[in-house]
């Protein structure tokens, strides 16, 4: 048995070395950790969140939660509109959503899938008060006390020591939190009592929802405020529901007398079914197509944005192409690819001779010329873009020069800007250094004597270049091309300024959806596809060149 080698302190050398190695690894990780954490927080999580947003679709389930649940039992293949219970749920959902001014948001979301829904939601949001006003007026006419916020509060609130309906409270808080995407955690000084929750279940829910809303978002004191009209509608629905009399008979708390006298007049109030009320607001609500759209987009996740991003759509018969006149994204992706390719090829054609010259001149002269390449590289992108905007204009320097030289007539100036030509010219100029620098670093390693050897063996100049020099420079072309291509497919600023409508890229569309059309899900889906393309290209780049070999400024 071999004798164990010991370190100076008597521990086995192997263990001691292992410990040192572990400590070294720990030290390295401790140095890296702060930055890793920083990048995770400021960059990776935002990107991940964007990817999540491209499939996320909680807006329907968050804005009209009760409707979505009620709609579960509806048969989408039939021609009938949903049951009254769905419309009732829709009334309470939309009421709070329109108080929070969020119903139009859902309208615009569903409008992406089926046009016309936006105006349906907008119109209906304004009419909801009228539906409920009938009930409010009837109750208040019968007894003034129903218009008194303090009375309502006393009736609904949990007195000291009495059991409270915590379940109802928590449920309403979650619903409201989902709807407004904020935490509704403020102490509002109100808890519904259990007894009233048994007697008037719907009223308690609606009142609690209202109380949470006014206390959290309007900073009001619940006891001082008059409840929304929807609370009166809920009171009517509760008193009108079968078995209301038995439930009320068991109730002995505050307001029992008032409730009993209200129960007496309920039958005198004209009962208007909710579906008829909604049909009055807009008969679009009776169309099964609208409900099919709502049901189709009720799940919390959707492939709809991705389908849209490649001009497909979900229909009753499965996934289909969008109508011809709505297909824009594939064209845009193809255009982005073709223009990036054109830019890459122009960069190769212009960059190759320059890199060759730089690599084969004496160091002093090459450094001088290198400055001409590095200065544009270091110059602000906006400066270069503004230069091209100025130069390429109809009345700009280039057109002036061409007219002066007699190449084009004064009344027939070239359209060099606000089209694909402008984008290609300006972006070739901007990205050219990214081609020249990798080409140069590869060419520097090719000994010029190989060319001379080829020639001395009888090759012509062309053969010597094409069979001997060029193959050795291909890695440089590969590196430069991938770099230029990747940079150009994600470009936004330059196409936006010199591209007009015909010379824009997919990135401009993403920006449009973020800032103008507000279809963020679609923007995220388009971004996710672009990101996938770029990462695939980078993987190729890593294979060919190696990420570690990325160099800046020579």
């Amino acid at each position: 048995m071999a004798e164990q080698v010991l370190a100076a302190d008597g521990t086995p050398l192997k263990a001691s070395l292992n410990r040192a190695l572990r400590r070294q690894k720990m030290r390295a990780l401790v140095l890296i950790a702060p930055l890793l954490l920083f990048i995770m927080l400021t960059f990776i999580i935002p990107i991940g969140q964007m990817l999540f947003r491209s499939v996320e679709n909680s807006i329907v389930a968050d804005t009209i939660p009760r409707t979505v649940v009620a709609l579960d039992n509806w048969d989408a293949s039939g021609d009938a509109e949903p049951d009254e219970i769905v419309f009732q749920a829709l009334f309470y959902d939309l009421f709070v959503a329109s108080e929070a001014k969020l119903h139009t948001r859902l309208g615009s979301r569903l409008n992406y899938e089926s046009s016309g829904i936006s105006s349906l939601f907008r119109k209906s949001g304004r009419g909801l008060d009228d539906i409920a006003d009938v009930y409010k007026d009837a109750f208040v006419d019968q007894n003034d006390v129903w218009a008194d916020g303090a009375f309502w509060f006393e009736m609904m609130n949990t007195a000291d020591g009495a059991p409270s309906a915590d379940g109802v409270f928590a449920q309403q808080r979650d619903l409201l939190g989902n709807l407004t995407s904020s935490s509704v955690r403020k102490n509002i000084g109100f808890l519904p009592n259990q007894e009233i929750a048994r007697a008037l279940p719907l009223t308690t829910q609606t009142y609690t929802e209202w109380a949470l809303y006014v206390a959290n978002f309007d900073d009001d004191v619940v006891a001082d405020e008059k409840p929304w009209e929807s609370v009166y509608a809920a009171l009517f629905d509760d008193l009108h529901a079968p078995g209301a009399a038995e439930r009320l008979a068991n109730y002995t708390g505050t307001g029992a007398d008032e409730l009993n006298s209200a129960l007496a007049i309920v039958d005198t109030i004209p009962d208007q079914p909710y579906h008829a009320a909604f049909a009055d607001l807009d008969d679009g609500w009776l169309s099964p197509d609208v409900w099919r759209t709502i049901q189709a987009y009720a799940p919390r996740f959707t492939s709809g944005y991705f389908l849209n991003a490649i001009d497909l759509q979900n229909t009753d018969d499965g996934v289909e192409w969008r109508p011809e006149n709505e297909q824009i994204y594939l064209t845009l992706f193809v255009r982005t690819m073709i223009m990036s390719m054109t830019i890459t090829i122009s960069c190769i054609l212009l960059g190759y001779p320059v890199a060759w010259m730089l690599a084969n001149l004496p160091a002093r002269k090459a450094n001088m010329l290198m400055i001409l390449v590095l200065l544009p590289f270091w110059t602000s992108l906006l400066v270069r873009t503004s230069a091209w905007k100025v130069l390429l204009q109809n009345q700009g320097v280039i057109n002036d020069l061409l007219v002066w030289a007699g190449f084009v007539a004064d009344d027939n100036r070239l359209a060099l800007i606000n089209n694909a030509t402008g984008t290609v010219i300006a972006m070739t100029h901007i990205l050219l250094p990214f081609m020249i620098l990798p080409l140069y670093s590869v060419m520097q390693t090719i000994p010029i004597s190989y060319l001379r050897a080829a020639k001395s063996l009888g090759a012509t100049n062309w053969t010597a270049f094409w069979r001997v020099y060029f193959p050795q420079s291909v890695p440089g072309i590969g590196a430069g091309s991938i770099l230029v291509f990747i940079l150009s497919i994600g470009y936004y600023i330059t196409p936006e300024i010199v591209g007009g409508t015909k010379g824009v890229f997919i990135s401009n569309r993403i920006a449009y959806h973020i800032s103008s059309s507000l279809n963020w899900g679609l923007a995220a889906a388009l971004g996710a596809i672009l990101l996938a393309i770029v990462l695939a290209l980078y993987w190729a780049y890593d294979r060919i060149v190696g990420i570690d070999n990325v160099k800046l400024g020579g």
């Binding site: 990780l29 930055l35 990048i39 390449v373 906006l382 994600g490 672009l530 770029v534 800046l552």
Partner: protein, 294 residues
């Protein structure tokens, strides 16, 4: 690569025409940047040379666009914002980035490739995608900061833009500093430790002076990234954080004013300064590490 005396006429023609071609390409590279310099002194509000300018008449030139740049609040405010945001972003990227680069250059780093990929990802991901992701996340973060710390909307706006720009600048710091550390002789730190220096003293008195050129050029890259960045600030910032490139972008997209050429000229001057500094630092670093300047 000079022309041999026995070259044929054809070879001579090719030799000179090749030089002309290369000259034209270099002209294409540099001319758009150079040409805006005289144009920025135009006395008229035109974007082309007026007959007076071509005749070199002094009356055709003026400094009025520069005066506008330095007196118009539409330009002063963005300039100030840029000068506030870029230095802070640079400090964050350089301090965190240098530490991490030193960590990465140790001989045994677990998951090295994966960590490297994450750290340089802000450079790989197209700006428009970074901006989209940040747009969603940072707006929530801003609200959270305002609620939790009770800071003003404007301050949280600056913090958001600074953090976003710091993230974008980090890959450049990592790349330049790791490149400098490749040539760093690790036995120097061991020698210092051997002589009784604490790790902190070793870092500041031995390691730092040697890698300083790399750190500074990384910092310059980070600075220029922030100073020149427009897509992310457009999505993350509010009007109160409007930076110089943002103002230029708005100017170019909406009503283009000749002042933009004066701004551009000033920025070209800054890039020349930066280029000269980086080049000087690169040579100094190579000399310090005992390499011959290429």
């Amino acid at each position: 690569m000079s022309l041999p005396i026995y070259a044929t006429t054809g070879q001579k023609i090719w030799y000179y025409s090749f030089r002309v071609i290369v000259g034209l390409i270099l002209f294409f590279l540099i001319a758009p940047i150079i040409i805006i310099i005289p144009l920025s002194f135009n006395a008229e509000n035109f974007f082309t040379f007026t007959p007076k300018m071509l005749a070199l008449d002094p009356e055709g030139y003026s400094l009025k666009h520069y005066r506008d740049f330095f007196s118009n609040p539409d330009w002063i405010r963005p300039l100030q914002n840029s000068l506030i945001i870029a230095p802070f972003a640079t400090i964050i990227s350089v301090s965190l980035g240098t530490l991490a680069a030193i960590g990465l250059s140790q001989s045994h780093v677990p998951f090295r490739r994966g960590i490297m990929a994450i750290l340089i990802s802000p450079m790989i991901v197209p700006l428009i995608i970074s901006a989209t992701g940040m747009f969603f996340f940072y707006s929530q973060m801003g609200l959270w900061m305002e609620e939790t710390f009770g800071i003003s909307k404007s301050l949280s706006g600056y913090i958001k833009v600074i953090l976003a720009h710091a993230a974008l600048g980090i890959p450049f710091v990592i790349i330049t500093v790791t490149a400098t550390l490749v040539g760093f002789d690790q036995s120097l730190t061991r020698a210092a430790a051997n002589m009784g220096a604490t790790p902190t003293v070793t870092f500041f008195r031995v390691q730092m002076p040697l890698i300083l050129p790399g750190v500074i050029s990384g910092g310059l890259f980070a600075f220029i990234t922030s100073f020149d960045e427009v897509v992310v600030v457009l999505f993350v910032g509010a009007a109160a954080q409007k930076t110089l490139p943002w103002q230029m972008f708005t100017g170019l997209r909406e009503q283009i004013s000749p002042t933009i050429l004066a701004v551009a000229t000033v920025l070209v001057g800054i890039s020349i300064l930066l280029l000269a500094t980086v080049e000087m630092l690169r040579r100094r670093s190579e000399r310090l590490r005992g390499m011959s300047p290429s």
